[in-house]
């Protein structure tokens, strides 16, 4: 059982932990740190429910080892709101009802957050392309696209 001491900054807070080589980042976040906003859906790198930002890029945390996050920055859904106020992305999903059961929403929001950082004015096609690695089995995506557009308008 190889153990590694890792230093990861999560939502701006430095964490030090000793983890097994095989521990997945998503399990580190959920089971070790108790950050259960990041969800496990398919567990096979398809659904995107476990999407977090690793050094600013959305990644599927079920397919990254916790040790690979050593000396890196992680942002999870818990890091979106500031001082108790919803982030414009969260506000967008709220206002446009961009969810039904809500299971895919954290990953959906992290991917959208990164999209708007890179491209503040995405077209509908660009939004749909960006979230094509995040599956929603409820909504049909119409309101999710509206939610991202809502956020884009409010981030300006």
């Amino acid at each position: 059982m190889a153990q590694h001491t890792i230093h990861v900054t999560i939502n701006g807070t430095a964490h030090e932990a000793t983890v097994e080589s095989r521990l997945l980042l998503v399990h580190f976040l959920r089971d070790v740190l108790g950050l259960t906003g990041t969800h496990i859906g398919c567990d096979t790198t398809h659904c995107g429910a476990c999407t977090v930002l690793l050094d600013g890029e959305p990644v599927k945390s079920c397919t990254v080892l916790a040790v690979q996050a050593d000396r890196k920055q992680v942002k999870t859904v818990e890091g979106l709101a500031e001082n108790g106020n919803l982030h414009p992305i969260q506000q967008g999903f709220w206002e446009e009802h961009g969810l039904q059961c809500g299971f895919c929403t954290p990953g959906m929001m992290m991917t959208s957050y990164a999209l708007l950082q890179r491209n503040p004015n995405p077209s509908e096609a660009e939004i749909r392309q960006a979230i094509s690695g995040n599956l929603c089995r409820c909504t049909g995506y119409v309101n999710i696209v509206k939610a991202v557009q809502h956020a884009a308008a409010n981030l300006k």
């Binding site: 097994e20 397919t63 990254v64």
Partner: protein, 290 residues
Amino acid sequence: MIPAAFDYHAPGSLEDAIALLEQHGDEAKVLSGGQSLLPLLKLRLGWATQLVDIGRIPGLEYIKEEDGYLKIGGNTREAALERSDLIRTKYPILLDTTLVIADPVVRNRATVGGNLAHGDPANDHPATMLALGAELVAVGPKGQRTIPITEFFKGLFETALAPSEILTEIRVPSPPPRSGGAYRKLERKVGDYATAAAAAQLTLGKNGKIEVAGIGLTNAGPVPLKGTEAEKFLVGKAPDEKTFAEAARLAARAASPTADWRGSVEYKREMARVMTGRALAAAAQRAGGM
């Protein structure tokens, strides 16, 4: 799902990585982006007691033109290929390819070298690199060697790489004027492996006839398939619909796909024909010949 236990190493240099691979032999696997390897380990379909992560070795992520080649570092992320102006303007066949690999989130981790070194005939870069006549640079204990892409794929998940070698660079010959290439893939949904897919690269002569042709097929057998017969047929012909229909027929004839939930052998072979035809037409258009 949790992988079986393994030791993890994150060497800071190629030399250290190769030494680790030498030390552990068959027990070691190279981890680049991990988007194929980690799912295999999680499903316990693959097995390794030592993972050598080359992701922290500096200097293996680049896209540049040099000495008549496009050179892509082995650890270059698919997302970097996708965002590269050089790729978009001069090598659109590679943009076609990366855009249909997995999905945008996976492409932030997945690497071009990993896609090739994994040796999966369902991966998309192999067919494209076959069409482009790429060379792969491998570094091992004895130093560096260059492997032509036609000699790289040995069998299902099996490549010409020795256990202690690392794929460090992909070299694509810079195409001469009047060249164009395209990749066309039929997939059931975003992120799926190809039901059928084809890469085509053409160079036209001053007389408008085809001078050089490269064709590669994805998921058309146990290894990525080069459409040798179709390539030979194309040379010297006019890049028109009739020529491409025959070339597509020849390419598909060489395919030996496996029946699965994506379709029967007959259906997949037919789709390989259709995708080859479409890739050729798009390649010719980009070469300025249609």
